[in-house]
């Protein structure tokens, strides 16, 4: 079985090594970290990580000069993409974290602050149950209401047709979104123990069936 070439985009936004470690743990050994436009265009699939403030990450992504290659690979060639945490949020049109910032706009919708609540404190941090909307192959190996690790204060809000799973934290939190070949997860699969590995395995399978 050929191991797909999965490229994790390194644009200076967080702990990408643990994403690589997770992929290697399930024998997706052909995975790489990359800052290189041609490696991005040559990859079978891409992962866009992201940790920190939306504006800061977006600025770094723009500075990296990699957006044109990403657009080519993902929007034109329809290679599978998995956005993680802020990497998922960047897929949206905008975020109001620390002022208004535009995102990539590849999935309609906006990122907004999770409403503060004395009983449900922000950041939304810890293990929460993810309720699945049936039909997303990314969760083919995961039970409904399985626990995943979240750590964020802002959340995607948009048309429900793009939302493939949710979590509850005083209010409904979007846990994952999808539009065609583009997937995004708000939780950290690389930090969600075995359930996280199941998501990466399912992503690997999606790539193989492309």
């Amino acid at each position: 079985m050929i191991s797909p070439r999965i490229a994790i985009v390194d644009y200076g936004a967080g702990n990408i090594k643990s994403v690589l470690n997770a992929l290697k743990r399930i024998d997706l050994h052909n995975s790489i970290l990359t800052k290189n436009a041609s490696e991005i265009e040559a990859a079978d699939a891409l992962i866009l990580p992201g940790v920190g403030a939306f504006g800061h990450c977006m600025k770094n992504l723009m500075k990296s000069g990699l957006i044109p290659s990403l657009e080519n690979a993902i929007l034109k060639k329809k290679k599978p993409l998995l956005g993680i945490c802020v990497g998922m949020q960047l897929l949206a049109e905008s975020s109001d974290e620390d002022g208004f910032h535009s995102g990539l706009g590849w999935i309609p919708g906006h990122v907004k602050q999770i409403q503060p609540n004395s009983k449900f404190r922000i950041p939304h941090v810890g293990w929460n149950q993810v309720r699945l909307v049936p039909g997303d192959a990314l969760f083919s190996k995961v039970q409904n209401d399985a626990f995943f690790y979240f750590d964020h204060s802002y959340s995607y809000s948009g048309c429900n047709s793009y939302v493939t799973s949710t979590a509850s934290h005083g209010t409904e939190i979007t846990a994952s979104i999808k539009l065609g070949n583009i997937h995004g997860v708000q939780f950290h699969p690389e930090k969600s123990d075995r359930n996280g590995l199941r998501v990466f395995r399912a992503f690997g399978n999606i790539v193989l069936t492309c």
């Binding site: 702990n15 940790v51 941090v125 626990f147 930090k191 123990d193 590995l197």
Partner: protein, 286 residues
């Protein structure tokens, strides 16, 4: 629903895991990498790696050690100990930590600069409290002195700095196994905008049940209590009687087992032991 977290704390002195009592009386436990490995396998929701000696010695963090430990953790790993600048924080994240814990070096400018680059959620602010008589005082572990500043005022300040979580430790109960200080926790929790992790005093599973029933703390952490029993975290989670949501994802299920008054596993009946012969357990390969 968001689960209450059980966090395994790995306290280190001279790159060795130690047990401590009242922030002193350090005795060796073993190697950090092995402890992190076992905590991870036994179902820790997060792991705290805290070096209690480096700031005192004027040393930077041991980045290689952090990296060695991070390889064993499939759950978030927080590192604390001598994180005193943005540059050090950056190197700690690069070594594989997901969050940093800041204690002695806490200041508005440091926290804000780290939050700006890595996000609020990346910073856990560690607060040590010493109880003297009936009063709770902010405690500085380096100088061993208390501050006159009011707790409420300090928490208010932290709320404005952009931290992710608070790690609250009551010095008096460290290693004493006499339970968490519910009054103190409620007092701090009432003023904190961010989630609160509590450490200091764990001695029985019941202490965690009480913590989650009687306070709003989002997580309970322990070091000593988790170091000396096989499957300690899995056993603890099985024994929690609280109605709160607890994540229990390992194959180590103890809900059908009996425990004595010291939370120690009782031997199974001979009949049950006999039925375990030739039982094939199929392990899922992801």
């Amino acid at each position: 629903m968001l689960s209450k977290r059980i966090i395994g704390a790995v306290l280190m002195n001279n790159d060795q895991v130690i047990q401590s009592r009242v922030f002193g009386n350090y005795l060796p436990v073993g190697k950090p990498e092995i402890t992190v490995d076992y905590f991870n396998r036994w179902g820790a929701d997060e792991i705290l790696l805290i070096d209690v000696s480096r700031t005192k010695k004027g040393l930077d963090p041991n980045y290689q050690l952090i990296e060695n430990c991070s390889v064993f953790s499939g759950v978030p790993l927080a590192y604390g100990g001598a994180v005193s600048s943005l540059d050090i924080a950056r190197r700690v994240f690069l070594a594989g930590a997901d969050k940093i814990v800041i204690n002695a070096a806490a200041s508005a400018s440091l926290i804000r600069s780290i939050s700006k680059s890595f996000g609020n959620q990346s910073v856990i602010l560690s607060i040590d409290i010493l109880k003297i008589g009936d009063s709770y005082m902010l405690y500085n572990y380096l100088t061993r002195e208390c501050s006159a500043q009011s707790l409420e005022e300090y928490i208010g300040l932290l709320n404005s700095w952009g931290i992710g979580e608070i790690l609250l430790q009551l010095v008096n109960r460290d290693g004493m196994k006499n339970g968490f200080d519910i009054d103190l926790i409620n007092r701090i929790s009432a003023h904190s905008d961010v989630p609160v992790i509590v450490m200091g005093g764990a001695g029985k599973a019941n202490h965690f049940s009480e913590l989650f029933e009687n306070t709003a703390a989002e997580a309970g952490a322990a070091a000593n209590y988790l170091h000396f029993t096989e499957h300690s975290i899995a056993v603890l989670k099985s024994l929690l009687t609280s109605e709160q949501s607890i994540r229990n994802d390992t194959s180590m299920k103890y809900s059908n087992h009996d425990f004595d008054d010291f939370d120690r596993l009782k031997k199974l009946d001979q009949e049950d032991l006999d039925s375990l012969y030739y039982q094939k357990i199929v392990v899922e390969k992801i």
